[in-house]
């Protein structure tokens, strides 16, 4: 029996989950994210004995790690820690072995009341990931966590808790992977990271759920404490329907964050992201850049909020978001917004939705470069700013390779789109 702080929360959350309808999210009248097509009751938390997945090797390569933990379906199937200074284990196990440390942080920023699926995750999570980097420990190699959905019919209720101690330094990467399959699956995830005073954290979330009917409903929150610095890089490269809330909170004086996100949607994928750059204390800084590209009949909405609360003066932050449409049937939105409840801060934001410029393509073609190559180069050039901000060579190569592959797959529709636009101009 797990400690009461876990069990009591499960019980309370279950009541919320059962009392609430499956939500539909609507924004500004015309943007709707609906789970109508998802049959949650038909899914089950599948358990596995051991890890046997080509897709994990394919994405992680043979890069050395400080720790690697893999949850497939409902349970952790692999965990190895090569750096003995840190703790990485299933959250279920951490609850038993490090109850005080877990209780101090667990769900501090993740209220189960905030929705049906956050409540579901709080009630049903199994396995889980726990990472603790003690104060003063500096590790070079990444700590890697993988969430794997290997077959359709799977529901994965996920919870990750990361605690980075005072003045500790580390890289944490989470991967969300599935092979291409026919059929439905759901990942409903909760992620929380606490960067203690003076900590330096490099955090990445890499999502590619493949071409299956995988739904991802997740909430991720990062708290940056006094004089700590967090670089956070969420990357979305696949998923039938993704609805995520990504918040980074500079909670104490001197805390600083850099948030760099990107997405590439294709086919009939639907991506709905809401990020908040929240400043809860004065003298904090932030810098957010999100870029996306859309192909096929995909839909992508990115809404980014800067929120500066009262009593948080001398904040300096900005947010930019850009979106590029590469297909006549794709539709997108990129909306920056601002809530500032105090004077004496610097906060600015900007957003664009654009298309490839036929004049750029013409220019490149006059140099002998084919249309397909010109498009590839322009889209890669568009993403290059954010790829360089990943500041992680292994991940940069992976992202460049995947974008290049996706563009090759979308070549015909991009050509058709550019042709239409050139004639219309």
């Amino acid at each position: 029996m797990a400690p009461s702080f876990v069990e009591d929360r499960r019980r309370a959350a279950l009541e919320v989950y059962e009392s609430q309808e499956v939500p539909t999210w609507r924004r500004s009248g015309f943007w709707t994210t609906s789970l109508r097509g998802l049959d949650v009751d038909a899914l089950e938390p599948k358990r596995y004995d051991s890890l046997d997945s080509a897709i994990v090797r394919d994405h992680l390569g043979d890069e050395e790690h400080a720790a690697l933990i893999v949850q497939q379906g409902a349970n952790v199937v692999h965990c190895d820690v090569t750096d003995e200074r840190i703790t990485v284990m299933p959250l279920e196990q951490a609850v038993e072995e490090h109850p005080d440390l877990v209780e101090e942080h667990f769900a501090k920023r993740l209220p189960y009341e905030e929705g049906k699926f956050p409540a579901g995750t709080a009630a049903f999570w199994t396995g889980g990931v726990f990472v603790h980097v003690p104060a003063g420990v500096q590790i070079e190699k990444p700590i890697q966590a993988v969430w794997l959905i290997e077959e359709p019919g799977t529901v994965q209720w996920a919870h990750t808790l990361v605690v980075v101690g005072e003045n500790a330094e580390c890289k944490v990467r989470e991967y969300f992977l599935a092979p291409d399959f026919d059929g439905q699956a759901l990942h409903a995830g909760a992620f929380e990271l606490y960067a203690k005073p003076g900590a330096q954290v490099h955090l990445a979330h890499y999502q590619d759920w493949g071409s299956g009917d995988v739904h991802d409903l997740s909430v991720r929150r990062v708290e940056v404490q006094r004089d700590a610095h967090v670089k956070w890089v969420p990357i979305h490269l696949g998923g039938r329907l993704t609805k995520q809330t990504l918040d980074i909170i500079t909670a104490e004086q001197g805390s600083d964050m850099r948030h760099t996100g990107m997405y590439f949607t294709e086919r009939d994928e639907h991506l709905d992201l809401f990020t908040t750059d929240k400043h809860e204390a004065g003298h904090t800084t932030g810098d957010t850049v999100w870029k996306g590209a859309l192909t096929g009949e995909s839909r992508a909405s990115y809404e980014g909020l800067i929120h500066i609360v009262p009593k948080a003066p001398e904040v300096d932050t900005y947010l930019q978001t850009h979106q590029m449409l590469l297909s006549p049937k794709a539709k997108g939105d990129a909306i920056p917004s601002l809530i500032v409840e105090v004077d004496n801060v610097k906060a600015s934001h900007g957003g664009t939705v654009g298309e490839l410029d036929p004049e750029q393509i013409f220019y490149m073609m006059t140099r002998g470069i084919s249309r397909a190559e010109a498009v590839r180069v322009l889209v890669e050039g568009y993403f290059e700013e954010v790829v360089q901000r990943l500041d992680d060579p292994g991940l940069e190569d992976l992202v460049r390779r995947r974008i290049s592959e996706k563009l090759a797959g979308a070549e015909d529709q991009v050509r058709e789109f550019i042709g239409e636009r050139a004639e219309a101009s």
Binding site: M364, R367, I369, G381, A422
Partner: protein, 250 residues
């Protein structure tokens, strides 16, 4: 070996701009195509390169006998045609050096060796008095007018086309930049290459002496001659040609 334009009629969405242009540029020759604003000069340049914003309704474009009227811009480039743009596009995220390597390789079977490319680049940059640091900047991003024109001529030098069209390369250049760019062009002239220099003013022609001059007004070539025609134009302006040909067929 020739670049040949036969009875070219070109239109945009709104209206016809070129009303039957004939032009023959042989290898080894330098032609100037002059005309006032709105005469159709840039339309001709863009049409030669296959800009999809312009539609050819009649006539042909031949390069070394090969009909390129319907060819895509990249096929024309690989066939040996080049244009230095009046307003080159910005290519974010792609450095000058990477862009040049891509363009050079587009014309080759095997990719160029790193060392060979570096040597070639250095030679042409020295000629055009371009600083080393220039090559790592994103192409045309934040470039001054003069830097853009130099980057165009650097591409010309690296790609060594059979025929080069220079669209208003002299516009927006101060006298020093004009001299450097002109020297670059002169170094490229020779038996193996033809030039079509499109310009409003005679300035550049003081540095790059043309063998032939054509005057384009209202989408038609109305006068042709040797380099003395440019001198005459310098003295008397376009009005004299207009009067002579009777309002240029407007």
């Amino acid at each position: 070996m020739t670049l040949e334009v036969q009875n070219l009629h070109v239109r945009t969405e709104e209206r016809e701009i070129l009303h039957g242009v004939d032009l023959v540029v042989k290898k080894g020759e330098t032609h100037a195509l002059m005309g006032p604003n709105g005469s159709g000069k840039s339309t001709l340049a863009n049409t030669l390169m296959g800009n999809p914003s312009y539609e050819i309704t009649e006539g042909r474009i031949l390069l070394n006998g090969e009909d390129l009227t319907e060819a895509d811009p990249d096929e024309r480039a690989r066939a040996g045609l080049f244009m230095a743009f009046q307003y080159p596009a910005t290519i974010p995220g792609v450095s000058v050096a990477n862009f040049l390597r891509m363009a050079v390789n587009a014309k080759r079977e095997e990719p160029i060796k790193v060392k060979e490319f570096g040597a070639m680049l250095k030679e042409h940059m020295d000629l055009l008095k371009i600083d080393r640091a220039f090559t790592s900047r994103y192409l045309n991003e934040g470039f001054s007018g003069g830097e853009k024109k130099r980057a165009e001529i650097l591409q010309l030098a690296m790609l060594q086309p059979d025929f080069a069209v220079l669209d208003e390369t002299d516009s927006g250049l101060d006298i020093d930049a004009l001299r450097i760019v002109s020297e670059g062009v002169n170094a490229m002239r020779g038996e193996e290459r033809g030039f079509l220099i499109i310009t409003h003013y005679t300035r550049i022609l003081n540095y790059v002496k043309p063998d032939f001059v054509h005057i384009l007004i209202n989408g038609r070539i109305v006068r042709e001659g040797g380099s003395e025609l440019a001198d005459e134009l310098e003295d008397k302006g376009y009005e004299f040609v207009r009067e002579e040909v009777g309002a240029g067929g407007a």
